[in-house]
């Protein structure tokens, strides 16, 4: 049974890598053309009615936006986990710092009362998260891998606790409303009901989806550039064998810190978008379980591989919305499938890590081997 499943999964991977090979065999103009067509398709997705794919109970555009924002999170977390090999369980902390930066500097309800527009808040958010990434990374990146996971978890919880209990600043679980959003109004001709409404206002999600999609594409492109740069090679060396990398002159600590800072900045950017779109946020938005879902999407999808983490983000955030369409009521008790989401992802973590530790769409070329299997058996 097990071996059959494994064989099936290997066939699936073979098929996928076959597609990949064919894709790479295509002439460049074709690839660009298809790429552009695909991007156009993504932009048009909210208006295309693909049967079954569209969500009924929840607004489809909002769902797409949600997926897009978490793809952005996955791209950022992938830099930390997938490229540099640092397990960060507290990534939500950076997300929160980004979101709170926008809320505190932008909202008229905040005690800071600076009321900066969203576009000014975003660079502040990115700068503050990068700073917090460095501040956290500086002392902690020297500790061992699994300890690092727990330190980051503690950091994430600490941020949440400060957000929840420090209500003089953050207003705690009561949250902050009237968070600013980018300017712009819907022109006539898009949707008759929208004309004149704020493009990024609370009523419509389409503008946000498009904006987030643009950022996802830009960040993915940037992440790929970094991955194939000198920094990316240093990360690869550190991930495979930190001691060997050090001997070869890679300053592991400095590059790890870079990974942390870049990852944090992307987390902060995602948080800033999240805050602007939601218009309202509170400490309840940054629970640890969300952080674990972040890790789940990277690890289940295939850490290190952008397509993999994107798949992970889609699985983790689209499926629960879709499942809501199948809500049923038994004996007057409503069964909400969203409630089973964490259970299912917990199971997926165990099963996928046991049978395919590299995730559903593993990274193909760069890592020569599942790194551990090649090592000699060390007394654990």
């Amino acid at each position: 049974m097990m071996s059959k499943l494994r064989a099936l999964d290997n066939r699936r991977l073979g098929f996928l890598s076959g597609i990949g090979d064919r894709w790479h065999a295509l002439p460049k103009p074709w690839r660009i053309a298809f790429g552009l067509a695909f991007v156009v398709f993504l932009f048009a997705l909210p208006r295309i009615n693909i049967p079954f794919f569209r969500t009924v109970e929840t607004d489809f555009t909002t769902v797409l936006w949600t997926v897009a924002i978490y793809v952005l999170v996955a791209v950022g977390l992938n830099v930390v986990i997938g490229l540099a090999g640092l397990l960060d369980l507290g990534y939500i902390g950076f997300f929160a710092v980004g979101a709170y930066s926008v809320a505190l500097f932008g909202s008229p309800q905040s005690v800071l009362a600076t009321k900066y527009p969203w576009l000014v808040c975003v660079p502040i958010a990115i700068a503050l998260t990068m700073l917090s990434g460095v501040l956290l990374g500086w002392p902690t990146l020297r500790v061992r891998g699994d300890y690092l996971a727990i330190v980051t978890l503690g950091f994430g919880e600490l941020i949440r606790l400060i957000a929840e209990k420090g209500d003089a600043l953050t207003n705690g679980p009561r949250g902050i409303a009237e968070i600013p959003y980018p300017p712009g109004k819907w022109p006539a001709g898009v949707n008759s009901e929208w004309t004149g409404l704020d493009m990024f206002g609370p009523v419509t999600s389409l503008g946000w989806y498009w904006l987030t999609l643009v950022l996802v594409i830009v960040c993915m492109w940037a992440a790929r550039r970094i991955e194939h740069s000198r920094v990316g090679r240093a990360w690869l060396a550190i991930r495979e064998d930190e001691d060997a990398a050090e001997i070869m002159g890679v300053q592991a600590f400095r590059f790890k810190l870079w990974a942390f800072a870049i990852g944090a900045a992307l987390g902060g950017l995602s948080g800033a978008i999240f805050a602007g779109k939601q218009n309202f946020m509170s400490s309840g938005s940054f629970e640890l379980m969300t952080s674990i879902l972040f890790v789940a999407m990277v690890v289940i999808g295939g850490s290190g591989n952008l397509a993999g983490v994107t798949l992970g983000a889609i699985l983790v955030w689209y499926l629960p919305f879709k499942l809501q369409d199948f809500n049923i009521t038994i004996d007057g008790e409503r069964i909400n499938f969203t409630e089973y989401r964490l259970l299912l992802f917990g199971l997926a973590l165990i099963v996928i890590m046991t049978f395919r530790p590299q995730g559903l769409l593993p990274k193909r070329y760069r890592s020569s081997q599942p790194p551990a299997a090649a090592k000699e058996e060390v007394p654990v």
Partner: protein
């Protein structure tokens, strides 16, 4: 090989375009819903699952009863469907649900959002899209001050309830030392702040969502030695908290707001620990609301719960509007703004901010007796 791939890709693109075209058509037909057969939807927005689901289910059943009675009495009238949106009481999920309501233009009114926190997250969207909101339970006073054009509240707010609770502690219980605690939620903190306006607490404390171990807080309470404790929060944390208090030998009278007024409180605390607990509510005891209590029991098999009657009234306002032919969002909003009528709980005439006449709001004190929450008295107005 390459050609095959190109063809496959091209095919997919054509297919996508075709689907897109058909989608546009589908959307058009959906949007023009005002046909000869009149059909509208009202949405319930609140927790149907999760830790505080009881409060949401009470509301949903109250609204459902109103619509069922209408359908029975008017078999040939406009068909009204109650759409149930389960938010789990979670303000994170609220915005997406609000978007879904906005996206379905046949939904012309919302009974809810049930809690104050999710109201803050969802109402800017609903209001911006012109969907009429009548909440039968979100009692935080500041909700009316946010400038939401379509917001209405079918009951008194905590600005009425809190001071009444304070007066009850001062005048009826005659407590000297009062320890005021809130759960830091929109609702709980707002309520506790109102109570503090009437009684000066010896000390204050907070709990947080999902907390089970209250040892540190109880140490502080014991150090203060109060003879009454006021708790602004929901029953999900209130029950275990009350149990831990009694377990640690704190005997002070426990007073709380409407968020505790649910059998879940007794379930969480145990019969014995809950005994004698006082909860206030700006809601009328169901047995004082005509046939409602009996009808509710017959329909659901349960006793009417907190806010079931208010939800019944809220739904009935919408029903009146639909009966009068207001089947679009704009018309419904105009109708509710100008509404003046008597429900089973009180008289409804909304102010500019969407509040009912606060001076007329009756706040009741209830007490836990033998494992049941029973009405004790209406708290006298100052």
């Amino acid at each position: 090989m390459r050609q095959k791939f190109v063809r496959a890709f091209g095919g997919a693109a054509v297919l996508a375009l075709a689907l897109g075209a058909s989608a546009a058509c589908a959307d058009d037909t959906k949007n023009s819903s005002s046909g000869s057969d009149c059909k509208v939807k009202i949405a319930f927005f609140g927790a149907l699952s999760g830790g505080n689901a009881n409060l949401g289910i009470n509301i949903k059943d109250g609204a459902k009863l109103a619509i069922d009675q209408y359908t029975k009495a008017n078999p040939n009238g406009c068909k009204i469907e109650l759409v149930q949106k389960d938010s789990q009481g979670d303000e994170k999920q609220a915005p997406a649900i609000a978007d879904a309501i906005i996206g379905d233009s046949s939904i012309i009114g919302v009974v809810g959002p049930a809690f104050s926190g999710e109201s803050k997250a969802a109402n800017p969207k609903l209001s911006g899209a012109g969907v009429t909101i009548i909440t039968p339970s979100a009692t935080n006073p500041t909700l009316a001050d946010q400038g939401w054009k379509t917001f209405h509240r079918a009951l008194g707010n905590d600005a009425a309830q809190g001071p009444a609770a304070g007066r009850y502690i001062k005048d009826v219980l005659k407590a000297q030392k009062v320890f005021v605690i809130d759960d830091t939620s929109e609702y709980g903190k707002g309520l506790a702040d109102q109570v503090k306006k009437v009684v000066t607490p010896v000390a204050t404390g907070t709990t947080s969502k999902g907390q089970t171990d209250f040892s540190a807080l109880i140490t502080a309470i014991k150090a203060a030695g109060p003879d009454a404790i006021y708790y602004g929060g929901y029953y999900a944390e209130g029950g275990p908290f009350l149990k831990a208090l009694r377990g640690q030998g704190v005997k002070a009278t426990f007073v709380g707001g409407d968020g505790l007024k649910d059998p879940g409180l007794i379930e969480g605390a145990g019969k014995e620990a809950a005994e004698g607990t006082v909860v206030t509510c700006p809601c009328v005891p169901p047995d004082k609301a005509g046939n409602f209590a009996a009808d509710y029991k017959a329909a659901t098999g349960q006793e009417a719960g907190t806010y079931s009657a208010e939800a019944f009234d809220a739904a009935n306002i919408f029903i009146e509007g639909i009966k009068a032919g207001n089947t679009t969002r704009a018309k419904m909003e105009a109708f509710v703004d100008g509404y003046n009528g008597k429900g089973i709980t009180t008289t409804f005439k909304f102010t500019d901010k969407g509040e009912i006449d606060l001076s007329a709001v009756a706040v009741w004190a209830y007490e836990v007796k033998d494992g049941k929450i029973v009405a004790k008295q209406e708290i006298p107005k100052p």
